[in-house]
């Protein structure tokens, strides 16, 4: 470990809003739990356009998961500003890099 390892410094973790991170973690956990809980959706009834529930429900989670992940992404950007001593980009600054 480096001599410069000190919390909050360039080699420590950046200042973090932990409660926001927890919220982000919960958002990320939701789809995992929902989809691993197979018995909650392993059934046919409630068909949608001919699709049994089992199938369209999982397709639906594609979108829910994308939304939740994106929300978590934004939250994490807010929760953890780039560390001191960095030229770090602002949350939106990464747009420039999307060439």
């Amino acid at each position: 470990m480096s001599e410069f390892d000190r919390s909050g410094g360039p080699d420590g973790a950046p200042p973090t809003n932990n409660s926001l991170l927890v919220v982000a973690g919960i958002l990320l956990a939701i789809p995992v739990v929902a989809l691993l809980w197979v018995s909650s959706y392993a059934r046919e009834t409630l068909r949608l356009w001919g699709f049994p529930f089992f199938f369209w429900y999982q397709f639906l989670w594609v979108f829910i998961c994308a939304g939740l992940t994106y929300a978590a992404h934004r939250l994490v950007l807010v929760a953890r500003k780039p560390g001191a001593g960095t030229t770090g980009h602002e949350a939106g600054g990464d747009k420039e890099r999307d060439r």
Partner: protein, 898 residues
């Protein structure tokens, strides 16, 4: 061929070649081949020969390219061919789990991939084994990870070739008794794949991935909209037919064919398959390669949010397996045997007009090529870095390394080809399952280690070993109707009674062992290896100067896998505010010996280290970014002035200066380039509040105390490269480079001949300071600049570390800057560079005559830049021209290091 023909005589479909479809397939294949070869120009970096360029595309792929590339990882022949085939033959538990798998994948990678990206960016890791090596300083654990990744990838590549073969089969190729005629089409596809991967590296799949995904989406959308309408009852009918088939009894096993919807006793199988696959996917070297090739941490996470689009399409693809049931598709190969793997191509051929069937075939075939290319590159990286260089030839030069990498990528593919040609196709799929089981066993080592070092390295190794053995054994025991062993990936979870994914059972075992043994070893206080990473490393993002400073380690990442000293350099490279453009890879290091290789390798190779001896001349008020300044009024930072440049040779062979030099000359691209110039230039610019001096003034300016006492006496002799002599040896561009780019580094020194002479004298004097340098110094063209740089080490470090403006305590040290990756030009905003350079040029143009060596070129450049309205274009041109400068020299022998 029409569906009618097929229904009447299914075998007839295979007797002839589908001419139109085949023509379209070949045409599209030709297009992507051309694209693959042209890909070298895509987001081109300075140096295509650089390994980093080849394998990571220069690490500058943005969100969308990364998205396409990751799609390439996900959308493999496995998803086109194997998943629908599994749906077709065995139902939803075997096939549709791929949907939840690819959904929960993203929350999982969201959580840990950003950390992996950051620490890899910071330390130049290219593979997960690199990371493990750095985290635990354990070659053995690193080898375990590397070998697992390498071995698990090979059947995966083979599976891609199986996919291509399936398409060719249905298109009517590959028939005949002669093995050559039978396998020729696949061989041709293979050779093309190998050739463009070899030449274009990761760029080839990146470019082709666009075409591939476009074709895939087109085909899927058409298939999903059109096919159900051809079936009685639409989707209702499809699900009805599937349900019927799944419920029917399989003659071979006496059990139902499969599950329509997971029933009791299958839930766990479904869930563990999804979770295990999701956790495993990003352990594969190719997924890591793709992720690391993105340009920032944010890219990863943003991608995690947009990638699920693939899952949706994947689900539709899976359902096509059931569409085929309803459509009565008979997947029978050219050899006349039923083969479920052919179901999707056969469905396309039966249902689409010939030309569109050709498009669909091309989509599948190209879709298999892209991941095959990525995988072979990744496997080759792993082999080269973590096996070849770590264990076989630690002294490999960069050229050797690059060559081995490329050759390894060929070997891997050839091996996969052999797999496909000699073994039954079913074996490829079985081995792929086995690969999934294996690769998951590296999860604890990699992911847990991203968060904690509580786990002991030996415990992780033990867990890994047991997981591997158990997983292999359990998979071996699984029988299926077609094979006695390796017949599937499900088994009864021991002591639980439910069926589950073998990989997860093995993982659980792995985890238990790792925890128990770690507990024991930690209690016994067994050393757990040195950690070269710091907490902050896991949060680093692009643009973070700590990252940028350590970028040399990226290119020199080979070194970091090899040498323990790199991190020391990295750890000392803490000069805030010196890299405002985010591109100046100035890494200010500590004492010489740090660069020279403390660490494992006594005869360390430092062949790519360009050490810039930098002197923090003065402390100046820090007026960097507003954000940084906020709340930190009055901060001062040490600003380094470049006093000289030295490039180390291969220390291990330094006694053989000539050959070292020659080799390095060939191999080492040291860009003493814009980045350096820009980084240094930027300082006066940022300090505009009190100066407004142009770049060329900078060193001199620094020498004057500004707001603080200089650490060193003003105008401590700066040294610059002994330009001509050294550079000519390299190439003309290099000459320009040094004159023109290093110039600002030499800054004050180059302002007049007199001073320049002084510099040279100083350079000579350097030999006194840097012992051993002279002795090993090459002759003639290799003249080295080894300036003495002395400053008050402690003070500087302190100032750097704390950002305070206390007067540093005295001390003497040499500061080194590693520059290896300095001139990654394309990292720079071109316009910015132009402006900077122009400013610099103008200011130097305003200077009195007799400016010195560099002026000729400067003049030319000034003209170029100022006279041409499209100066960024011309600059870009110039950059390309300069892209190949290589300078190389070496500093001193290994003895000096110790």
């Amino acid at each position: 061929m029409t569906p009618v023909t097929l229904v009447v005589a299914p075998l007839a479909a295979h007797e002839g070649i589908n001419g139109v479809a085949l023509a379209v397939l070949i045409l599209l294949f030709a297009v992507v081949t051309v694209l693959g070869f042209m890909a070298t120009r895509f987001k081109k970096g300075d140096n295509l020969e650089s390994l980093d360029e080849w394998r990571l595309g220069g690490r500058k792929f943005g969100t969308w390219v990364t998205w396409f590339l990751l799609g390439g990882d996900l959308y493999t022949a496995y998803t086109f061919i194997a998943v629908p085939a599994a749906m077709f033959a065995a139902g939803s538990v075997a096939g549709f789990f791929a949907v939840p798998y690819t959904i929960i994948l993203y929350p999982i990678i969201f959580i840990f991939m950003a950390r992996l990206w950051s620490v890899s960016h910071r330390h130049g890791y290219v593979t997960t084994a690199d990371f493990v090596r750095g985290r635990y300083d354990s070659r053995v654990l690193s080898l375990a990870v590397a070998v697992t990744g390498f071995v698990a990838t090979m059947p995966y590549i083979a599976l891609q070739l199986v996919g291509i073969q399936a398409v060719l089969d249905v298109a009517g190729l590959g028939g005949g008794d002669n093995w050559l005629a039978k396998d020729a089409p696949l061989l041709i596809a293979f050779v093309l794949l190998a050739a463009y991967t070899y030449t274009s590296g990761l760029r080839a799949p990146a470019v082709i991935a666009f075409v591939k995904d476009g074709l895939i989406y087109l085909v899927i959308i058409v298939a999903v909209l059109y096919l159900p309408s051809t079936i009685d009852g639409g989707w209702e009918g499809i699900f009805g037919a599937a349900k019927e088939k799944m419920a029917a009894t399989n003659e071979a096993t006496g059990k139902p064919n499969g599950a329509f919807i997971p029933g009791d006793g299958q839930m766990w199988a479904y869930a563990t398959l999804a979770l295990g696959s999701a956790m495993a996917l990003f352990m594969y070297p190719h997924s890591v390669t793709t992720t690391l090739s993105s340009e920032s941490r944010v890219t990863i996470r943003r991608n995690a949010a947009i990638l699920p689009a693939y899952s949706f399409v994947l689900g539709l693809l899976a359902l096509l397996g059931w569409v085929a049931i309803a459509a009565g598709t008979e997947p029978i190969g050219v050899d006349g045997k039923p083969n479920p793997q052919l179901v999707i191509p056969q469905l396309f051929e039966d249902s689409f007009s010939s030309w569109f069937a050709g498009v669909a075939f091309a989509a599948v075939a190209i879709g298999a090529l892209v991941p095959a290319a990525i995988m072979s590159i990744a496997a080759a990286n792993t082999f080269t870095r973590n096996i070849y260089k770590e264990w076989i030839n630690p002294h490999a030069t960069r050229a050797q390394e690059a060559k081995i990498s490329k050759v390894a990528s060929l070997v891997v593919k050839a091996f996969a080809l052999l797999f496909v040609l000699t073994l039954d196709k079913q074996n490829a799929i079985d081995f792929q399952l086995l690969g999934g089981i294996w690769i998951l066993q590296t999860f604890p080592v990699i992911v847990f280690s991203l968060y904690t070092r509580w786990f002991h390295k030996w415990a992780l190794l033990a867990g890994w070993a047991l997981g591997m053995v158990y997983g292999t054994y359990a998979a071996y025991q699984v029988a299926s109707p077609t094979s006695k062993h390796f017949g599937g990936s499900l088994e009864e979870i021991p002591g639980f009674g439910e069926m589950g994914y073998i990989a997860m059972t093995a993982f659980a075992l792995n985890l238990v062992i790792a925890v128990v043994v770690s507990f024991a070893l930690n209690a016994a206080k067994v050393p757990n290896g040195a950690d070269e990473t710091t907490v902050g490393d896991y949060f680093a993002d692009a643009g973070d100067p700590r990252v940028e400073k350590n970028r040399p380690a990226v290119e020199g990442g080979e070194r970091s896998a090899q040498r323990g000293h790199d991190h020391r350099v990295g750890a000392l490279l803490q000069v805030p505010g010196t890299t405002p453009l985010g591109a100046a890879d100035l890494a200010v290091g500590g004492q010489e010996e740090i660069l020279a290789g403390q660490g494992h390798l006594a005869g360390a190779q430092a062949d790519h280290v360009l050490a810039l001896l930098v002197l923090p001349v003065a402390q100046v008020p820090h007026v960097g970014e507003a954000r940084q300044r906020t709340g930190r009024e009055g901060h001062h930072h040490v600003e380094p002035a470049v006093l000289g440049i030295r490039i180390r040779g291969e220390l291990g062979a330094a006694s053989d200066a000539g050959s070292v030099a020659y080799r390095n000359h060939q191999d080492v691209l040291v860009h003493v380039g814009d980045d350096l110039a820009v980084g240094l230039d930027e300082q006066p610019h940022e300090r505009g509040s009190y100066g407004g001096h142009g770049g060329a003034d900078r060193v001199a300016e620094d020498a004057e105390p500004i707001g603080a006492q200089p650490v060193l006496p003003p105008l401590t002799p700066a040294a610059c490269l002994r330009t001509r002599a050294g550079v000519h040896a390299v190439d003309h561009h290099a000459t320009e480079l040094v004159e023109d780019e290093v110039h600002p580094a030499g800054g004050a020194a180059q302002q007049d001949r007199g001073r320049r002479r002084r510099i040279e004298r100083d350079a000579e004097r350097a030999g006194e300071v840097v012992t051993g340098a002279e002795r090993d110094q090459a002759e003639g063209p290799l003249g080295e600049l080894v300036p003495p740089v002395q400053c008050r080490h402690d003070g500087v470090q302190a100032a750097v570390a704390t950002g305070d403006h206390d007067r540093p305590a005295p001390g003497t040290v040499q500061y080194a800057v590693e520059l290896t990756r300095v001139a990654r030009r394309s990292d720079l905003d071109v316009r910015l560079v132009a402006e900077h350079r122009q400013r610099r040029l103008q200011s130097s143009a305003g200077r009195p005559a007799g400016v010195g060596v560099g002026d000729e070129q400067e003049g030319i450049h000034a003209a170029t830049l100022e006279g041409d309205p499209s100066k960024s274009a011309s600059l870009r041109w110039r950059r390309r021209a300069c892209a190949r400068r290589r300078t190389l020299r070496w500093g001193r022998g290994p003895t000096a290091a110790n």
